[in-house]
Structure formats: structure tokens, C-alpha cells
Symmetry: C2
Subunit: 204 residues, 2 copies
């Protein structure tokens, strides 16, 4: 529940309204599930504001979060047809877009991830979206495929009013330092501990 009460009022010369409406960099990290699902839950709010939602998935997974993708594509289609909510773009590394479709070697994946990031940087420069979800983007940062310093500078200098949500384990400290909000998910209990495998509607 939002409390609405800031803990301190900074001496930054901004009015409450100006401060309230600053674009945010949010990082969802930690060992437990919930990082991506809460990013997509947040994107529902952005969609309802009529913002353009851009989702960029950085790690190939056997299960591509098909549930979220289908639902957001449906919401985007609804917007295009009725004007309700905002438009939605959903991009996966290696599919469509301008990313390399190469398979296999780590170098290819690293190049594709870097190309993907460059496309996002271009979009930030052009103020293409109101909210960006960079799903599992911490991995190419953690693996050194993309330079964290460059990412932080680009995000810090982004123009206009663009919110950015980054998800994934092992968020680099430099990214955490640059973020306005950092959420960490912790496992208290998980069905796999009791020998249960993932299932539809829950894990994907």
C-alpha cells in the first residue's frame, strides 16, 4: 500500500509535483521468482496510463513467458482497435527486430545482446516508450557482454519522461547505485524444494 509520505524532503529546488513525476529506473533483482512477474504487473499500470510499453527479453528461455506475452499482445491489440490503454511492443533477442538470429556460440549471443541494447539506447534517445521492461537484462551485464558504465550513463542521460524496469539476478552494483528503486525477491519456500516441477499457468 502506498503510504504517500516521503521519509525526507530533499533540498533540490523541485516542487513536490516535479519531484513526483521524475522518470524512474527500477531494478528487480534477487534469487526468487517474482522479478519479472512484478515488472509485468507494473507494466499493466503503465498500459492503463496510455503509455507506450516496450518489452525487451534478453535471455532465451525454454519457456518464453508466453502467458505475459499473450496477455500484453492482447492489450496492445485492444489499444490499436479501441484506443483503450497504450500500445505494446514485445521483442525477443534473436527474433524479429534487428537482432542477429545467429544461434550457438557465446560470442553470437553476446553480439546479439549488445545489438539489442544499442536498439534500446536509440529508442531512449527518440523517447519511443513511456515504460521499458528490460527482462533478464542483468545477465548480459553480469557476463560482461554489455558495458555497465555505458548503460548507466545512457539511462542517466535519457531525455523526457521514460520509466525503465530492469529484471534479473546478480544486478551489478553500479546499476543498483543508479536505480531509484531496487526490489529484491527472497525465497522463503518453493515447490521445487518439495520435489515439484514447474507447471503451466504458474511458471509460464
Amino acid at each position: 500500500m502506498p503510504q504517500g509520505k516521503p521519509n525526507v524532503v530533499p533540498q533540490d529546488g523541485l516542487t513536490t509535483r516535479q519531484r513526483r513525476n521524475r522518470p524512474l529506473l527500477l531494478v528487480h533483482t534477487g534469487e526468487m521468482k517474482g522479478k519479472s512477474t512484478s515488472a509485468f504487473g507494473l507494466a499493466l499500470r503503465g498500459w492503463n496510463q496510455g503509455w507506450s510499453i516496450g518489452v525487451f527479453q534478453f535471455v532465451k528461455s525454454a519457456k518464453w513467458k508466453v502467458g505475459e506475452e499473450s496477455a500484453f499482445r492482447a492489450l496492445g491489440k485492444l489499444h490499436d482497435e479501441t484506443g483503450e490503454g497504450g500500445p505494446v511492443e514485445w521483442h525477443k533477442m534473436g527474433e524479429g527486430w534487428s537482432w542477429a538470429r545467429k544461434q550457438g556460440s557465446e560470442e553470437d549471443h553476446a553480439a546479439a545482446a549488445l545489438e539489442g541494447w544499442r536498439e534500446i539506447a536509440r529508442r531512449l534517445g527518440e523517447e519511443r516508450h513511456g515504460m521499458y521492461v528490460l527482462d533478464e537484462f542483468t545477465y548480459p551485464l553480469h557476463w560482461g557482454w554489455i558495458d555497465v558504465g555505458e548503460v548507466v550513463r545512457t539511462l542517466r542521460d535519457r531525455p523526457g519522461h521514460q520509466h525503465v524496469v530492469i529484471t534479473g539476478r546478480n544486478a551489478p552494483q553500479e546499476l543498483v547505485d543508479a536505480a531509484d528503486l531496487v526490489l529484491e525477491t527472497t525465497k522463503v519456500k518453493h515447490p521445487m524444494d518439495a520435489g515439484q516441477k514447474g507447471q503451466k499457468g504458474i511458471e509460464w
Copy 2:
């Protein structure tokens, strides 16, 4: 990313498929935001499976999660018109439904919360939904408005294949013990620490 590898294989006489498809009780607790948003992100997966989604909000809030509500109502409407995804019902304590509309005293709110829980128990008995989101349901439990033992028994004995997600701070230990999955969200950094108030599209 789902790993797909259980840590142990229990000797429970079930096949992997039977074990995989057990209905889950999930609890999202902790001090930080992300509890409800990740529940709604999860519900997108359930919607995409064609399940009936039932959302029940237990705590009146100045900001009623209007973003998620609008998006899910849109998805529910889309289902009704095109058959895509699953149907959606969204209920708020004190509005519509069979809940008392009384305002004001704590006793009235406690009675309304209990009546709301009884309605959910009826629905569980009738297998009305594939996924239930009991949003901020831990509060009436924590405050003693609803008996935790009764809730745990009802959930444990629920028939069929119904997933239940419960969100909110201060989840009672008995509920945590009964859950299959418990996610805890932790604050690493929050804009309010820097004097920033909540804003549209992010907090609601």
C-alpha cells in the same frame, strides 16, 4: 528462469505429471512493493491458460490498483467477446458483490472482510475459478478479523485444481506453513527514501 529440476524426488506415490499439476497455494509477503504486482503478473499466465481468474481485494486503499483492474477487466472483456484467454472477475470489499457496504467502524470492516472470505470459501467449494488472487488478505488475518485456522483448513481441503495467491505484509506463520510457495520482497532502495512521492503508472 525455471530450472525444471526438483531438488529432491519425494516418495509420495505420485507420478511426475500428477505432482507437477497439483494446485498451489502461493503467499507473497514482505515489506516491499512487488507483492501484488507479481501476483497480477502471475494471473496473466493463468488468464493465458484460459482459466477463470477471480480477484478479491481486501483492504480499501486510496489508490485501488486501478491500472491492474482496468487491464484485467479489458482482458476479461476480450475473453467474453473473442474466447481468447479466460474470464475475469474483480471484486472489492464493500463494493458490489454480497459484501456489506457499511463504512466507518472497525467492526463493520471486520464483518465485511469475514463475509468476503465466506464468499471465497463458497467459490472454492464450487470450483468457480482456476486462479484466485486474494489481494492484501493477510491484513484481516493479521488483525484477527478472520480465523487463520479456518482459512488454512478450507484451502487445504479445497477440491479440484484451484491455484490461490495471497498477498500482503505480516503473513501469519500458519499460512506460511501451509503454502507451497512463499515469496518475500525486500526493500533495497525506494524513491520515498529520497523524498519522492508516489506517481501514476508506478504506484497505481
